[in-house]
């Protein structure tokens, strides 16, 4: 065991550097989005960019404070933080304020925050701690079920608000279970489920005209093709024991699921979510309604070209044709003003950061730190994917922020805490006994 000279000695400064780069780039984009002749001052507190300046300052204070904490704090209080966040989620359902149709905010005077932000962090800590205690025995059914409960209990509470975006975020914590030994086939099953869902929505629009007036619905054509494909696979594996019940059961399950999609779609999703999904899949097109944001966003990004229009030169940005420009659609500003080069740099920076978190997670002696690293990366990854995906029309419009980038104190602080907790834990790796 070594003694150390400074708290900051073993910190991953590269990771901190990427963080600072993203926060600074984000602030510039917010400035560009809100800037106009009347509000040039960078610290103008009536504007988003002025306020964000303040939020960033406070984030740096929080980041420094976390680095000064005792590293054992996080593991010790993991369940405590998780418990508090559950209590807040229950509380917000009772006394929370409704903003944009979801009862998910606490409003205390000028300050408002979403307990789901804390719950993501709390769940990451609690899951990491629970799995580090049982590490090798993940095969036990009880451990798997408890882990799922830790993830989906807060998710279910958030579903009641309702806030679909945050629920999606919790689902990605399954990546942590995957690292612990959860079979990769579950992800394949999930992909098949998404594929069948999309096909079911598509195929019902379509009919094939045969011999004059005889029509065959797209549903039946698709199910016929599915049966043939599964049959062909079965033929390949027919010699293996038990392949008949597996393939036939799988086929029946897929067909049943496929046929129930209509019902699930109509009854589980709210009309505005249905519209967004239909719009994304191109089943309906309504550029004035559900598709408005995405169309304007695509124009803004597309008009940036290869190298962009230059800082503060984005006219789409300046004229605010894209709604939610400094929060959910902040990516447009990057696309318009910095062009493909800018988006390339931004995406690379994110992937570099995520990859580095996973990579250094594997270098940990502490299982807690490793699991926490996977959880933090998963949370950042899903925000990154959904946010940019919706700006370029590849994901449905779900209002979730781009980490470190979007305007808003409460989201910036929670991502800062999420990342710096990992940076702190990582800096202690040499002092942790195996």
């Amino acid at each position: 065991m070594r003694t150390r000279q400074s708290v900051f000695q073993d910190i991953d400064w590269i990771m901190v550097g990427v963080y600072l780069f993203l926060v600074a780039f984000g602030w510039m984009s917010i400035y560009a989005a809100t800037y106009d002749e009347a509000h040039r001052a960078v610290n103008d507190m009536t504007q988003n960019h002025g306020k964000q300046m303040l939020w960033i300052g406070l984030s740096l204070v929080i980041a420094a404070a976390i680095l000064l904490f005792d590293h054992r704090f996080f593991e010790t209080f993991a369940y405590g933080i998780y418990g508090v966040s559950i209590a807040l989620l229950l509380g917000v359902l009772i006394v929370g304020s409704e903003i944009k149709g979801a009862q998910s905010w606490f409003v205390l005077g000028p300050v408002s925050f979403q307990p789901s932000e804390i719950a993501k962090y709390g769940t990451a800590l609690a899951l990491a701690k629970y799995l580090s205690q049982y590490g090798a025995r993940f095969k036990e059914r009880k451990v798997l079920l408890t882990s799922l409960a830790i993830i989906f209990f807060p998710a279910a509470l958030i579903m009641l608000q309702p806030d679909v975006g945050s629920v999606l975020v919790f689902s990605t914590l399954l990546i942590v279970l995957y690292r612990q030994g959860l079979s990769g086939w579950w992800f394949v099953v999930a992909l098949i489920a998404v594929f069948l869902f999309v096909m079911a929505l598509f195929m019902k629009q379509w009919t094939l005209q045969l011999f004059g007036d005889n029509e065959i619905g797209g549903t039946w054509i698709f199910l016929g093709a599915l049966t043939l494909i599964v049959g062909a696979f079965y033929y390949q594996f027919r010699k293996q024991k038990g392949s008949l019940p597996i393939f036939s059961g799988g086929l029946v399950a897929m067909i049943g699921y496929y046929l129930s999609v209509d019902y699930l779609f109509d009854h589980l999703l709210k009309p505005h979510h249905q519209n967004r999904i239909n719009e994304l899949l191109g089943i309906v097109s309504d550029p004035l309604g559900a598709g408005y944001n995405v169309h304007q966003s695509k124009i803004a990004i597309g008009s940036g070209g290869f190298s962009g229009k230059g800082f503060l030169q984005g006219t789409q940005t300046k004229f605010h044709f894209v709604p939610e420009q400094s929060t959910d659609f902040i990516f447009c500003t990057v696309g318009e003003e910095w062009g493909f080069l800018g988006t390339l740099v931004l995406i690379s920076a994110f992937i570099f950061l995520l990859g580095r978190i996973i990579w250094s997670s594997e270098n940990q002696r502490s299982e807690f730190t490793r699991n926490y690293g996977y959880a933090a990366a998963a949370i950042l990854f899903i925000h990154f994917t959904i946010n940019i995906g919706m700006a370029i029309g590849l994901a449905p419009v779900i209002g979730i922020p781009l980490p470190f980038f979007s305007y808003g104190g409460s989201s910036l602080w929670s991502f800062t805490i999420l990342l710096f907790t990992f940076i702190k834990l990582d800096s202690e790796r040499k002092f942790v006994l195996r």
Binding site: G304, G305, F319, G335, L344, L354, L394
Partner: protein, 606 residues
Amino acid sequence: MNNLEQRKFIVISSFVVIAIIFLMRLFYIQVIDDSYVSSADNQALRFVTKYPARGIVYDRNGEILVLNQAAYDLMVVPVLVGEVDTTSICSLLEIEKDAFIERMEQARNFSRYRASIFKKQMTSEEYSRVAERLYQFTGFYGQKRSLRIYPDSIAAHVLGYIGEVNQGHLDKDTFYRSGDFVGISGIERQYETALRGHRGREVLMVDVHNTVQGKYEDGALDVEAKAGENLILSLDLQIQKYGEQLMQNKKGSIVAIEPKTGEVLCLISSPTYDPNLLVGVKRASNYKLLSENDSLDPLFNRALMAKYPPGSIFKIIQSLIGLQDGIISENTGITCNKALVGCHNHPSAQNLRQAIQMSCNPYYHQVFKRLINRGEAKSYFEDSALGLDRWEKQVHRFGLGERLALDLPSLKSGSVPNVELYDRIYGERRWAFSTIYSLSIGQGELEVVPIQMANLAATIANRGYFIDPHLIKEPLSTQSAITWKKHNTGIDDVHFTPIVDAMQWVVDKPGGTARRARIDSIKVCGKTGTAENPHGKDHSVFIAFAPKDDPKIAIAVYVENSGFGGTWAAPISSLIIEKYLNGTIADTAKENRIFRADLISMEDED
């Protein structure tokens, strides 16, 4: 364990795969697809609504009653309006500077980024003058609309009018958007869903200089507007117009129906107004003038809504019920006993034909008494109640006391009193024939609207049935065919022979009450009536149909405050009948007498 460690590669690879998908997509929309990039420095989407042409309305002979004219809304997107030369734009649009500032403020309050209407419904001439210089003013553009135009300025009450949707329309039907037009009354409202068509849409890209750069995504999001369906009405434009001319300077109404089909040939309420007044920007102020400042209430559709007692005309229904129930025969004679109820001086009716021809009140007093009191119950009161109940049901079968199935909104039902009503007024079974006898001559609690009387004329013309009166002639393709029902009165057709004969005598025989309705070349059957008016001079009423043996037209004419039915209502009816059947008027003196008559200012002189 070692194996699981390798999973980091899979996790990191999936991050990278997503990043590559994103970058490929971005490379496509930012670098390869140059449709978003143009030499201009701003590209905004402009959503131009393509308004469908509203359906055109024709009369039964294919003549146009309503068509469309182009108009333009000047739209503004506030955020695109830069430094603007206020003086020159104000002079171009012919508005005051304050008005300009106020409208800009309203537009900004609606949305800074989306278009709102700056100036409504400019005519083509106005707009073409403005359009020439519009390029100087960024943020402004014209949007084509269409307004109604009524070439003959007639049939305002039938056609109705359109106006901008209100919150109620928006809440009830998601089809509508703010600024849309919707039928508010008449045919425009009744057939709104067929007439309105389907809105289209065009998505354009414009630059900061307000110039259209082309279609967004090559028009993939555009939708063509689909014009509304044209309507063919049963109205006869010539007859409608002629009737409106005859009714000038008179209060009242004319309704004519083709008996065999139930098609309404004309529907006139007088005084009327020029429907062109309720079009476009002047609509609100003109509406106010018509509704508030005109004591004659030209917006009120008398033909459908004005309730009058049926008067003597009701004697026809009494006769028919009496014949059907065997209470009287065509040879029944009854003394004119003025002690029962007042009458004019005439020899007593020897038979039913004479009773109708001379319109004898005591005769019907006795007929009604026999209808009501048949000795079916011991109590005189109970007997009257039984009789009234049966009689009321028989009267309903003539289309009285209920709304006819006419395809126009705001139709009134009139009323036929029933046992319940009298029980409420006088106390349960504390009334008898002697209380209600004024019903016998069509007065008392009876109320009808003019179209019900025209429908009665059609029923007699058909000898016992009527078809729901209606205004649409050809079925619509967009709606399931409306079926017009045939209603039987329950009176056998033989009983109509004496009635129809008597109605011919009313017009033809010396001493008939409607000699002024005579037309040499046509056998007209009619019946005069006088609707008692407690507020002034009685209303003149006449119903008729012609020709007697193969009726082509049935009509009811009301002329308010003009006294006896034979004086004004009868000649007006005959002129309509003659014009419809012959196309010309033989007796121009008769026509001129009507044209000259001003019964409204005459009333004021009284």
